[in-house]
């Protein structure tokens, strides 16, 4: 896994959700370059070019889709590290989770998350959410280059 340029980094341990998200993005032709990692540690390795990603090329993703419930390092911890590091703090992070818990939402915003989206059970709503976030973060939003 050493893609030269990654537009979206998706941190998600549920293969079904990965599949559904990719399906939705593909259908809306939003992103071509998506990298998926299954846990928080791998996500951090990718971002900071450590471990398996030590010889990954330069560049950071345009957006990170982050689940909160993750093996090893959980989503909030990943968020805290990403937003606390000079190299990564400007990357928009969208939390995409099943949790409607207020404390998760509050904590995420306290850690400067850019969006917090609850995964709907309904497929159409889910597809719609992914489409909207993709459109916004990939096409509308301007990030400092």
């Amino acid at each position: 896994m050493s893609a030269s340029f990654v537009e979206i980094l998706m941190v998600e341990d549920n293969a079904n959700d990965v599949e559904l998200t990719l399906h939705a993005l593909r259908r809306n032709r939003i992103a071509n370059s998506i990298h998926v990692v299954g846990d928080g540690e791998e996500a951090l390795d990718f971002l900071f070019r450590r471990g398996a990603y030590a010889d990954r090329g330069d560049g950071v993703p345009r957006v990170i889709l982050l689940d909160l419930k993750l093996p090893k390092v959980d989503g909030l911890e990943v968020l805290r590290i990403v937003k606390g590091d000079e190299r990564t703090k400007l990357i928009p992070v969208v939390v995409l989770t099943s949790s409607r818990e207020e404390k998760d939402i509050i904590e995420s915003y306290r850690l400067n998350v850019n969006s917090y989206i609850v995964k709907p059970v309904d497929f159409e709503q889910f597809t719609d959410s992914v489409r909207q976030l993709g459109l916004y973060w990939m096409l509308t939003n301007q990030t400092p280059s």
Partner: protein, 667 residues
């Protein structure tokens, strides 16, 4: 009777010495005047009697002055010493004259004031007073000087001397009155003239009554038989005198001979004295009987008291000020482990627990000073074996007949059983509280675990449901032409079930969230929240005629988002169950019930049978089939939870086909 007269009698006794003294002074002054002005009438009254000598007149006057000066008990020091000095002069006059008689010595003392020509009747030496008079002066002077000598058992010397003086004067007077002129037969003696004898009698009476609280005067006012007797003895004097005088008169008139007269006198005297004696005996007998009866009564009451004291089932002791135990009953001894004899050697300070001592002093002082009648308190006493016994102590004061504090009466009740019971109750209560606390903690923990479990299950269930729904939808959308119609229909059913399961999970999560979310109450406008909740239901109302009528809704203290959920659920039910109505009317009102504000949401919908009312608020309980009215059956459970968390209650009223009313309060 006597006691009511007592103040007057005492005043009389106080006046008599003054009057007697004054009488003697006036007598003496008149006689001296007679000597200086040479008026024989003033010096001897009758030419048959001997004259009152100038020294006698002076002595009488001085004796009268001394008696007046010394008669008052509480006189000034100066007055007292003047009185003693004058009394000393009186005694000296008597003593010098007596010395003249005994030794034959004549220093001219008798003629010091006035020169009397020789040959006066009844006079042995010119100007010299009679020996009886001289003796009387010595006695009167001594009696006055001895007025402060008050032996306890005997009659005071002043009074015995007064009695002797009285008898001497009486004898002299009677001698003259009866014409015996006893002294006259002995020319070497001067007789005491009647004008001398009468002032002496007065002085003697004055001396006798001078010490009002001692001897004779005290005896005269005594209320018992002694006083009765004492008051009658003086009456004997005139009676006996009268009898003797009558006898003498009869004898002189020649009615009977000397021996008959003496026999008669003796008989009469015996009769009079016997009568008096008999009366005295009767008086004594009556007094004695009274006393014996009183003794019996007192004995009986003391018996009763002793029995009460000893047999009382409560500890009693009598305690002097300072704490010395003077009486203690058996029960107290048994309670404290001491014998009654041992208790009598102790003070209350030995019995009291040292820590309770300070608190005991002030109330005891107040009772002693009469600031309060009694006081009760709980104290600890220390037994002989050192163990501690809690007691209830009641302390009061016994007074003497004069009202002076005598001793404390302390009632001591053993309250160890009560204390033990109280301690037991206290322990049980503490235990109970502890157990309630433990149980509450356990329950809270179990509840939290259950909540966490519910949350985690619901949460984790979402992912597979999402996968089922998602992939089914992808199949249906991406490959519609490749699937047989039957498969498309089945996949549609799978999608429906998946979506229903998704709603169930969402509701379940909402229900679980209410239990865990913090309750931040604030003042909220119920009308505004109800209106907003109704607004959110506009989709469900589309194509129907649904009217909301709102009454006057007072503001309330509540968590706004939760209250919103309450109205959202109740209004959504109302909208749902009025589906069959041409015009749905939903009312939101407030009413007062038992001092609480009840909010009511009513509709004119399908209603329900009241016998299922208790099932309404249970999660997943539904009274209508999902085909008639879709829903998960969690909404009212959420309502009840929110209301309960606000400390309120919720209930429903309805009848089938007649609409339903949901009423709730918020604490």
């Amino acid at each position: 009777m006597l006691s009511s007269l007592r103040p007057r009698i005492e005043a009389l006794f106080a006046a008599i010495p003054i009057v007697a003294g004054a009488f003697a002074v006036v007598s003496g002054a008149l006689v001296l005047m007679g000597w200086f002005l040479k008026v024989p009438f003033l010096t001897s009254l009758s030419p048959d009697w001997g004259s009152v000598k100038a020294n006698t007149a002076l002595g009488l006057g001085l004796a009268g002055v001394a008696l007046i000066l010394l008669s008052r008990e509480s006189s000034s020091r100066r007055r007292r010493w003047t009185g003693y000095a004058v009394a000393g002069v009186v005694a000296l006059v008597g003593a010098i004259t007596l010395l003249e008689y005994i030794t034959g010595w004549d220093p001219g003392f008798d003629q010091l004031l006035v020169t009397e020509p020789p040959g006066a009747p009844g006079t042995s030496a010119p100007g010299r007073m009679a020996p009886a008079t001289a003796l009387s002066f010595l006695l009167v002077g001594s009696a006055l000087l001895l007025r402060r000598v008050l032996p306890r058992r005997w009659i005071p010397p002043t009074q015995s001397i007064a009695l002797v003086t009285f008898l001497l004067s009486l004898f002299a007077l009677l001698s003259h009155l009866f014409g015996l002129a006893y002294y006259g037969q002995h020319p070497s003696f001067t007789t005491m003239a009647p004008p001398t004898a009468v002032p002496f009698l007065a002085l003697a009476v004055g001396l006798l009554l001078m010490q009002a609280n001692h001897g004779v005067p005290a005896m005269l006012v005594d209320t018992g038989p002694a006083g009765w007797m004492a008051r009658r003895v003086p009456l004997l004097i005139p009676v006996l005198l009268l009898v003797a005088w009558l006898r003498l008169l009869g004898e002189r008139m020649g009615f009977y001979a000397l021996d008959v007269g003496i026999a008669g006198l003796i008989s009469m005297s015996v009769a009079i004295l016997s009568t008096l004696g008999w009366m005295a005996c009767k008086s004594l007998l009556r007094a004695d009987t009274d006393r014996r009866l009183a003794d019996l009564a007192r004995l009986a009451s003391e018996e009763g008291f002793r029995a009460t004291f000893e047999q009382a089932a409560i500890g009693i002791m009598h305690v002097r000020q300072g704490g010395a135990v003077v009486r203690a009953n058996r029960v107290l001894g048994e309670l404290l482990g001491y014998s009654s004899e041992e208790l009598l050697q102790m003070t209350t300070l030995d019995l009291l627990h040292p820590d309770d001592m300070d608190a005991a002093l002030e109330p005891a002082r107040q009772v002693y000073e009469g600031e309060r009648a009694s006081y009760s308190t709980e104290k600890r006493y220390v037994r002989k074996d050192g163990s501690i016994v809690p007691v209830h102590l009641t302390l009061s004061l016994a007074r003497t007949e004069d009202g002076e504090p005598d001793y404390f009466v302390e009632i001591v009740e053993d309250i160890s059983q009560r204390k033990a019971a109280e301690e037991e109750i206290r322990k049980l209560n503490a235990n109970l509280e502890q157990r309630v606390l433990e149980r509450t903690t356990e329950l809270q923990q179990a509840n939290q675990e259950l909540e966490a479990f519910t949350y985690s299950v619901s949460h984790d269930l979402r992912a597979p449901v999402r996968a089922i729904n998602g992939f089914t939808k992808i199949i249906l959308e991406d490959y519609p032409s490749e699937l047989p119609d039957e498969v498309v229909r089945y996949l549609g059913l799978v999608t429906n079930s998946g979506e229903y399961m998704g709603r169930l999970i969402d509701d379940l999560l909402a229900l679980s969230r209410i239990g865990r979310a913090p309750l931040r109450k604030q003042r909220v406008s119920v009308a505004e929240i109800a209106a907003r909740a109704f607004e959110s239901l506009h989709e469900a109302c589309e194509g129907r005629s649904v009217r909301l009528r709102m009454g006057d809704l007072p503001d309330v203290q509540a968590e706004p988002t939760m209250l919103y959920q309450v109205f959202e659920n109740l209004l959504s039910n109302a909208v749902k169950f009025t589906r069959g109505r041409e015009e749905a009317i939903i009312r939101v009102d407030a009413r007062q019930e038992n001092g609480k504000t009840l909010y009511a949401v009513s509709d004119n919908g399908a209603g329900f049978d009241m016998k299922y009312a208790n099932k309404l608020f249970q999660p997943f309980q539904r009274l209508h089939s999902a085909n008639d009215f879709p829903g998960t059956g969690v909404g009212l459970a959420i309502v009840r939870r929110i209301v309960a968390r606000h400390g309120g209650t919720v209930r429903a009223e309805s009848a089938v086909g007649e609409g339903a009313t949901f009423l709730f309060s918020l604490g």
